[in-house]
């Protein structure tokens, strides 16, 4: 079939089953947008800033399990998606980015809106392409989706020079051929662990007296939540769920200790510290989890399972390294264990429950008349929202409180920017998730700093009919930075005050087509949330005026050992530390 490259791109996206593209037009990508006139190709969501489109693609991908697609023009638009690409790269999210490029013959001439997009994104994509022949489009698109979704997922970018997409340019003429099976001799993900490694791992797992299953985001990528639970139950092994793995194991499960790391709860942090065996499953010993590395989990042997072999031994040398897909490897482990019983963990379990009793995640209630406690707001939000509610968070204190105080019962209900820590992630990510899962309630939990970075996407949500809800925890500060300044810089506050007095978040939200509610009084919290949950025809923003001085606890100070975890002041008197 004869066609032009622009039409072929849309056809290729449909061939890959793409339902929605988050994008923004401009010069070099205009031919593709022209091909869309009349409704050809997948649904297009017109964003208000290209960064938003990138995070929407990510949010969509994480919530649905299908790759997200972002399409933008060259130059400034391509550089506007650098942040979401880096974000998706660090969090292993499968997205495919299509960027326009100046005509092939002009590349290298500093043409208008020319940037070296493949060069700029080389280190923040899993792979990228610069296409020169329109006949290659179906196969390149097919390969891009294959690479994005197989092995360790990640972003892939396709740069399309304008001359090969423009119907009016004879260079865009191509003959459509359905893509064939990919032939990539350098890309062969290994899914099953080696039997001898499985045996060695299971031996350690059965013998361990103080084991901890250190569950990471790789489990969700592998869609292995069921296997995680089965493995934990079979061996009676407590689980910690990293920031990227929240929801992989129900928080209500007695074996789930919750989040470890810098702002993890005391028991999860100390369990890893005191373990004699860590089973790292799709996790990567991130510095936010390990704290000071040379004193991290000093007595623990390590079984490390990851689909990316470069993670094995990168930070901590494992005793047993297994390259494979977390779901498949856990299946293999379960089979290997068969009817064998684990060692007795009675003493370990009672140590753990002792810690849980003495140092639960907790905060002090607000004094009468004082501002709202953010933790309380999140607890109420969770209690009053449907069980399958998806929560997307920004970056800062509110992110840590959301992870701590939301009780996740299902996988894929938690979206956040873990690796890059991208402020402004929540609103666009929530929109992407809602576009993919329209029947689920989607809340964005945001800080006032983050909100001001990407709130313009609420216009996208209103116009495109994607009714997300935003819980804006307004503490009038760049709270997380303020907390560090308080704790590590003698409270010398520097450029963290957002008290304004502008913007008026209510007027601002209303102007963008949202229902907006301000809550100052604890007694109004429930009613506001219930009202918001009842609105489904437009986005809603609730601005909660929260305690400006509230700090996130527990906390392992940067560069310190996890054993030096600081519990909240009101718990400190009881500690020996």
């Amino acid at each position: 079939m004869q066609m032009d490259g622009g039409t072929a791109l849309l056809k290729a996206l449909e061939f890959e089953g793409v339902e929605v593209v988050f994008g923004y037009p401009g010069g070099a990508i205009m031919p593709v947008y022209d091909s869309m006139v009349g409704g050809a190709g997948p649904r297009h969501v017109l964003v208000r800033h290209e960064q938003g489109a990138g995070h929407m693609a990510s949010g969509y991908a994480h919530a649905t399990g299908k790759p997200g697609v972002v399409m933008v023009t060259s130059g400034p638009a391509a550089t506007n998606i650098v942040t979401p690409l880096a974000d998706a790269y660090l969090d292993s999210v499968p997205i495919v980015a299509i960027t326009g490029q100046v005509p092939y013959g002009l590349i290298g001439t500093d043409a208008f809106q020319e940037t070296d997009t493949t060069g700029i994104t080389m280190s923040i994509t899993k792979h990228n392409y610069l296409v020169s022949d329109p006949n290659d489009i179906p196969q390149v698109v097919h390969e891009a989706f294959h690479i994005a979704t197989h092995g360790r997922p990640g972003p892939v970018l396709i740069d399309l020079p304008k001359n090969i997409t423009d119907a009016r340019n004879p260079q865009s003429a191509m003959t459509w051929a359905d893509p064939i099976a990919v032939d990539l001799p350098g890309f062969k993900p290994v899914l099953d662990g080696k039997p001898e490694d499985i045996t060695a791992a299971v031996e350690l797992m059965l013998a361990a007296k103080r084991p901890v299953l250190y569950a990471g985001g790789g489990i969700l990528k592998a869609r292995g939540a069921d296997e995680l639970r089965a493995l934990a139950e079979k061996l009676n092994i407590p689980v910690v769920t990293t920031l990227m793995a929240r929801g992989a194991m129900p928080d209500s499960h007695e074996l789930n200790l919750g989040m470890p790391g810098m702002h993890g709860n005391y028991t999860a942090v100390m369990a890893m510290q005191e373990a004699d065996l860590l089973i790292a499953m799709g996790s990567r010993f991130d510095d936010r989890v390990t704290g000071r590395l040379d004193s991290f989990a000093p007595d623990a042997k390590v079984v490390h399972v990851d689909i990316d072999p470069a993670e094995l031994g990168k930070i901590r040398t494992p005793d047993v390294a297994i390259r494979g897909d977390a779901k498949r490897v856990m299946g293999q482990m379960l089979e290997e264990i068969g009817g064998s019983a684990p060692a007795d963990h009675q003493a370990w379990r009672s140590t753990l429950s002792g810690w849980q009793e003495n140092y639960p995640l907790a905060y002090e209630d607000a004094e009468p008349g004082a501002k709202l406690k953010p933790q309380m707001v999140l607890e109420r939000l969770h209690a009053l929202s449907p069980e399958d509610t998806i929560v997307a968070s920004g970056v800062g204190q509110h992110q840590m409180w959301a992870s701590q105080y939301w009780k996740f019962e299902k996988p894929y209900t938690w979206l956040n920017s873990g690796g890059l820590g991208t402020m402004g992630y929540s609103i666009p990510a929530a929109i992407g998730a809602k576009a993919g899962m329209p029947d689920q309630t989607v809340w964005a939990v945001d800080g006032d700093g983050c909100f001001q970075m990407t709130c313009q996407e609420l216009i996208t949500a209103a116009v495109e009919g994607i009714p997300i809800k935003v819980a804006l925890l307004n503490n009038t500060y760049l709270g997380m930075v303020r907390q560090w300044q308080e704790m590590f810089y003698d409270n010398r506050l520097s450029e963290v005050d957002l008290s304004g007095p502008v913007p008026d978040y209510i007027k601002m939200s209303e102007a963008m087509g949202c229902v907006a509610i301000r809550v100052e009084d604890p007694d109004e919290v429930d009613a506001a949330i219930e009202r918001a949950n009842g609105i489904n025809d437009r986005p809603v923003v609730i601005e909660f005026l929260t305690e400006p001085g509230e700090n996130v606890y527990p906390m392992v100070p940067g560069g310190k050992s996890n054993s030096d975890v600081v519990v909240p002041p009101f718990q400190q008197k009881e500690t020996a530390k």
């Binding site: 493949t118 060069g119 792979h127 350098g186 031994g313």
Partner: protein
Amino acid sequence: MIKRSQLTQTHTIAALVENKAGVLARVAGLFARRGFNIESLAVAPTDERFSRITIVVDAESAPLDQIKKQLDKLIDVVDITELSIEDSALREMVLVRLELDDEAKVADVEALVEGFSGSVIRVRGAHMMLSLSSRPDDLDRFLDKLQPYGITALQRTGAIAIPGI
């Protein structure tokens, strides 16, 4: 003079890569981004589809295992082998230009070159151009010997290697 071939402190890696646009930039970019130091890098196509790259890396800068695994993550990298100096065929070439202080020394240099099985490319008065293709440590010795004669320019290729039989 800096010896570029302190072989004990380096690793030699042979990478078979797909001959795609930008593959060298991907490899070099990866080394830069991960803080791996390249001692030398040589690349050329082996056929229509593949190229072979020989990379000599500073062993101090990162564990070899990480370097190999990170390289292997590049989609265009098909295969990676670490090469031992003993077993593999490992060669490097050097081109040298000399300006002798005395034309009479040409014969001395010619004898020296012959001893290394190198070749004299051209002699013009007191100016000489030489080449030697051998093991990198041979090149070091060769250059050491030439040093007193007045080297005005030199270019080494960096090692190329293939696994032993």
